[in-house]
Symmetry: C2
Subunit: 389 residues, 2 copies
DNA sequence: ATGATTATCCTCGTGACACGAGCATAATCC
DNA sequence: GGATTATGCTCGTGTCACGAGGATAATCAT
């Protein structure tokens, strides 16, 4: 309990605003079932708290004009970060979910210490600029994350890395600065579920093919993170041939059947050093090279068959496909469709969930990081700290 | 909103009581962080509402004695039903989650109409006896459930069956009688997560081997039901050999590698008409029959390998094993353990989630049905209707 | 232009919810 | 039998949210 309801209404309004930016006060009141009187009081309180401002809304028909809810110029912000193989992206998110000042920069060095150092400076600048307005630092990283720590990042060539070092500060000042670390595919799934191709889907499955395959199951826009936040390693389901050993240590991992390594195998070529780039190359060639096309077909079947199995298990309303997924499917549309239908339990074939391309492309993880950061920063517990600042 | 907080505290107390029956008022107040004053007021209100009674608690040390919260003798109840191949079970659950008058009866006939008819009478008797006290009818059924309807029940020999017919009543009277239908394995998973071997686990995976394999992933005691309530068909993940066609229409389903049919295949015998009974028989023989033991070993490996893959994906805190699962593991403990470890991503081998036997055995589904029924009946929305009766 | 219509905003009275402080009560411990 | 401890009870206070009724600002119709 502990004044559970204290920030409930405020948090609801902020969540609604995050779902669709530029909502008007009247729209939100309708959506949440607020009386106009309460809406008045609530928005006034939120203005007072420097959470939002209200500006006159463009008029659409009869009736007294309402206002659009917008982020307060001195309102809370979240620093979203994405960490990839060759570069990192940074952005500042406001309460409406919009990203500001987004930029991507190559790593100067890829050593963990150097990257952490660069991020530490970035965070430091953000704290200098935003002060107490900065409520959360949320990092999406192309790595396995376990209990908030990176345990392995093969594309980055990292082992265990503790990213909390990017905060550096005396713990006292960090009391109300949340720090979140999440897997990039997981966060891309969140982005799809909230503002992408799976918006409104209830249960949605997002899968992303890069080197191997990662993903995320979301329920009402929230990711299943598991006991240690390490859920989503879809590539290590044993959908493949038992005979193949995966670098992860297990056998028959799906990973090995759906990416550049699989394409090389089908083409009788040696396993590529850069499976992603190799896959892009083969996919391009497939347009007029029969052998490449055939290899893509085999991979498309492996991909679709696995997706069908996951649909059997999770019963998602929609499946979104990121990374190389759309290209693989496009390169062998018929094979993909047939393998998908073939892998479904008979009765699911009547109305199988659509498999659609992801909407956010390469910005999914960054956007997802922003969203979960805002979820935290605008949650009921954290609003108390904001008001007390 | 709509008076969102109105029943919040009451629902919290009831949820706490469901988590551990016989909790004292003081314990619950501590757990929920209530002040003693508010606890007094709240319990008084709940007594008034005929939700609970309070009886003097046995004294354990110094201090003023407190009271134990118990179901009110005229309080709400839920009718829980389990529907299986050969029989059905019925029980009445009170707000503390206890089951009363539990009994199991063989079907007189297995035709859907006959079973529905029998259940309709059972529900009718319960309504006569409990009147408005009956708040929900919650059915666990050994079948695929889609949008609240049975679409397929191979063990029962049913196709599509609409179980809402067990209610029969004029819709007017049913306004505040909830009707829930769920898959038996899903509900067994709920029971394990709430009051069984996975209590307190956050994310937990329950798997049950009977004919094929079903299961459920729970998060904080709530099952992932998917977009249509049809999640949990773990047996139809393509973990097996692509060459084997499953009766479900897909290929390589895990189902075919972990039950009596798999044992028969390994023993070179024809596929059994009753895979469950056949498996029980083989498992018994395995004690002194080397060939049977070897077959069990193969099945144990297939089971453990699949579980490892699912652990990779879902990152559960614990895996619970029901049905024939414990016996299969016991019959080939070493093979199981090795295959489990082998199938995990390397870093997960450091502290893999324990795989434990389910606690509820054959009563899991019934108990799970009771729990989800109570969740509904004691939820914030439904309490309003109870107070207004 | 002017009134009708419509949608929204604002004010105010009311009641429920929950906290906190202080006191009362009932057990054990010494 | 008093000290200690844990809990229950009473009461004053502040916050939350509803509902009714009136005010306001736009479009629509004539």
């Amino acid at each position: 309990m502990a004044s559970a309801s204290r920030w409930h209404a405020v948090a609801q309004v902020l969540a609604a605003l995050l779902r669709r930016p530029d909502a008007t006060r009247a729209e939100i009141a309708r959506e949440l079932g607020l009386t106009s009187g309460f809406a008045t009081e609530l928005t006034a309180r939120m203005r007072e708290l420097r959470l939002i401002t209200e500006v006159r809304a463009p008029v659409h028909g009869r009736g007294r004009p309402t206002t659009v809810l917008a982020p307060h110029p001195e309102g809370p912000v979240v620093l979203a970060v994405e960490l990839r193989h060759a570069d990192y992206a940074v952005s500042v998110a406001t309460v409406d979910g919009r990203l500001h000042g987004t930029r991507r920069r190559p790593h100067r060095q890829r050593r963990p210490e150097a990257v952490v150092q660069a991020l530490r400076r970035t965070v430091g600048r953000a704290r200098d600029r935003y002060g107490h307005r900065l409520r959360a630092v949320s990092i999406a990283v192309a790595a396995t994350v376990h209990d908030g720590r990176v345990v392995q990042a093969s594309t980055l060539g990292w082992g265990e890395v503790d990213l909390t070092a990017v905060l550096q500060d005396p713990p006292a000042g960090v009391r109300d600065l949340a720090f979140l670390v999440g897997n990039d595919a997981t966060l891309a799934g969140v982005a799809e579920a909230r503002t992408g191709a799976a918006t409104g889907a209830g249960t949605a499955l997002h899968l992303i093919v890069e080197v191997g395959i990662g993903g995320c199951l979301t329920v009402d826009g929230f990711p299943l993170t598991g006991a240690h936040g390490a859920a989503g390693e879809y590539g290590h389901l044993p959908f493949g041939s038992r005979g193949r050993r995966c670098p992860c240590g297990a056998r028959g991992c799906w990973d090995l059947d759906v990416d550049g390594r699989a394409l090389a195998r089908h083409l009788g070529e040696p396993s590529p050093a850069d499976p992603y780039g190799y896959a892009v190359e083969v996919l391009r060639r497939a347009a007029d090279d029969v052998r490449a096309r055939r290899a893509v077909g085999a991979v498309a079947r492996a991909l679709a068959g696995g997706i069908a199995g996951l649909v059997n298990v999770h019963d998602p309303g929609v499946v979104t496909l990121g990374g190389l997924g759309p290209a693989i499917r496009l390169g062998a549309a018929e094979a993909f469709a047939r393998a998908y239908a073939d892998g479904l339990i008979a009765y699911r074939r009547v109305a199988p969930p659509p498999v659609v391309d992801a909407a956010h492309a390469e910005w999914g993880p960054l956007r997802g990081a922003a969203i979960v950061g805002l979820d935290r920063a605008l949650g009921e517990e954290f609003l108390g700290a904001w008001a007390a600042r």
